[in-house]
């Protein structure tokens, strides 16, 4: 009896140790501790602080300047109020921002596309942007006038990503077989994706100008279809806690949802600290966001950031 219980106890110990070892090794192998997801959606994450904390000041400035973002905002005359707000707020933080309009508007400068079909506008804008700026910018961000973007957070997100790879990033949605970036949250393309896109525009079978055969696909889905042919796939952008950084809703809407869904942890559960976009903002809300993002802060909280961004000239609301 005693020898049997001794064996049993030895077995229990062996089994326990074996289990711990297997789990531990298994976690390391699958990258568990870095929270990489292996399932159908492609997820892409912001860099960790460890990746960037060993840089000198000079290296930080150089690094900050090496990420050059060109912003395309597609507008129509009915968007005048939002257009003005975007011009006066976040777009000042792009390396260059241009407004591509369906038709000429006297009040503001824009690049006139002479069409109000969204897919046609998108095609033309991307083509023009590539032709003119392919040697000057390595990332291309496309937004609606109802979107607010924090370009510094976009640059931080893109920090370790090689723009000569075909990146196509934003808030992704799955529609049947197609995974696409929702235009409402903003669309980011690397220069390589834009290059491939320009080429596939010339192929009317793969990337027709008229959208779908039977019913029209929305322009953001069309874009995904064309890019897929070139080998560029949509990836959903998340912070180190798995929260989306491209948002198709406003802060207010997300807070309201959080107040219903997890009332004990509204802010902690709602939105990323490194959010890049919000959408559905009224023009006055954009000005409040500008103040909230670039000015309002709590005294005594300092940050040791790897990148350095200075306020733009000729501006006072940031």
């Amino acid at each position: 009896m005693i020898s049997e219980s001794t064996s049993f106890v030895k077995g229990v110990l062996l089994g326990g140790i074996f289990c711990v070892l297997v789990t531990f090794l298994g976690h390391i192998k699958t990258g568990y501790w870095t929270k990489v997801h292996h399932h159908e959606h492609h997820h892409i994450q912001a860099p960790n602080q460890e990746d960037v904390s060993n840089l000198s000041e000079v290296e930080r400035v150089e690094l900050s300047q090496s990420i050059r973002v060109y912003c395309i905002i597609l507008v129509k005359p009915k968007d005048l109020g939002h257009w003005a707000a975007v011009k006066e707020t976040w777009s000042k933080h792009c390396d260059k921002a241009e407004f591509y309009s369906s038709e000429n508007v006297k009040v503001f400068d824009s690049i006139t596309l002479n069409t109000d079909d969204m897919w046609a506008m998108m095609r033309k804008a991307y083509k023009l942007a590539y032709d003119h700026y392919k040697d000057e910018y390595n990332w291309f961000f496309l937004a609606r006038p109802t979107t607010f973007a924090i370009i510094e957070n976009l640059k931080y997100f893109l920090l370790k990503k090689d723009s000569s790879q075909p990146f196509y990033i934003g808030h992704t949605v799955k529609s049947g077989d197609l995974e696409y970036v929702d235009g409402e949250g903003g669309i980011v393309l690397s220069i390589e994706s834009l290059r491939r896109l320009s080429k596939v525009f010339e192929d009317p079978d793969k990337c027709p100008e008229q959208g779908g055969m039977i019913w029209k696909l929305s322009e953001d889905k069309q874009l995904a279809v064309c890019l897929k042919y070139t080998g560029a796939f949509a990836e959903n952008a998340e912070d180190s806690e798995g929260k989306d950084v491209f948002n198709t809703k406003s802060v207010g809407s997300l807070i309201k949802e959080a107040m219903s869904n997890h009332p004990q942890q509204v802010v902690e559960g709602c939105c990323s600290d490194m959010a890049i976009t919000f959408n559905g903002l009224a023009p006055n809300h954009m000005h409040v966001m500008m103040y909230g993002v670039y000015r309002l802060r709590a005294y005594g909280h300092d940050f040791n950031d790897a990148l350095v961004f200075l306020p733009p000239a000729d501006s006072d609301n940031d």
Binding site: F8, G11, Y299, D314
Partner: protein, 356 residues
Amino acid sequence: MQLLWTALGIVAGFTVIFSFLPQLDPKVLTLKSLPVLAHRVIHEHPTEDNTTAAELFSKVRILCWVMTAPQSLETKARHVRATWARRCNVVLFMSSQADAAFPAVGLGTREGRDQLYWKTIRAFQHVHQHYLAQADWFLKADDDTFVAVDNLRWLLSAHAPDRPIYFGKRFRPFVAQGYMSGGAGYVLSREALRRFVAGFQTQVCSHTSPVEDLALGRCMEKMGVEAGDSRDATGQETFHAFPPERHLRGAFPKDPSYLSYSYYPVLGGPQSCSDLTISFHYVSPEQMYELEYFTWHLRAYGYRPRRQPVPAGQTPLATKDRVQLSQPERGRTQGSGVGPFARGANHNHVTYLPRS
């Protein structure tokens, strides 16, 4: 036979440990519900250094009391409790009736607009009686006031708590030295609190009117408590009587009633709000969380702010310099380009240093 027992043991051991391992899972730990009032310095970004904020927390101790009512505890006060109230050294919710669960202090008054000054008097008496040694400054706020407590510490760090002074959004009419808006929140030094309570004991002060902020302002003046200037070094206001959109986008510079109430010249647009704003009023529950998110969470990575504040503990501009900066003429608006800190003088970094 022994082998069989060993094998059984291995299976048992493996299963037991396997079922316990998920509890060590860090993912499970992060989403646990956190006790609300116990939090002090909350939520840290990976690159965040809270040393200065933590030092100020112990050096500039603030007791916050929030004016609320039984019917507003769950609709309004709850959201204050979940957000900025956690950052006070002590926080008390003051209601006509006690509520042990919330918790709320019962002041023994009735409810209603006409009771506001009674509630205020009783609240300060309660605080004076039980908490005088626990704080240096005593803030009153409404349950629809948002307060950036860290910024309040910054403002107060340059003033001694044994000085008879109080700060808030300063209004001009009715009281010679002005008085502070009740809704925008106001904060008394320990000495100011002593004098307020003493005023009622000696009957120098009494319940003169239900208009809480005006009546308190009159008592302060009688008791020799100075109405302080809470603007930052560039003349931008820190306490606000309305929500941010109204100040940043509103037509205030042209609104004659607001102009006549405001002690200092009204600045419009971006100049209406300091970077280190302390309060907003008429804030909805949803906006309370939004402002918490903007103040302590969302930021632009790597961005060096355009305006660097005077470091904590240093006196902002001397009064005579402030007068030069902006002339407080009644009924006149103030453009944003006056004085040595005019916008346009320096595009990028503007550091405002105190003149000694």
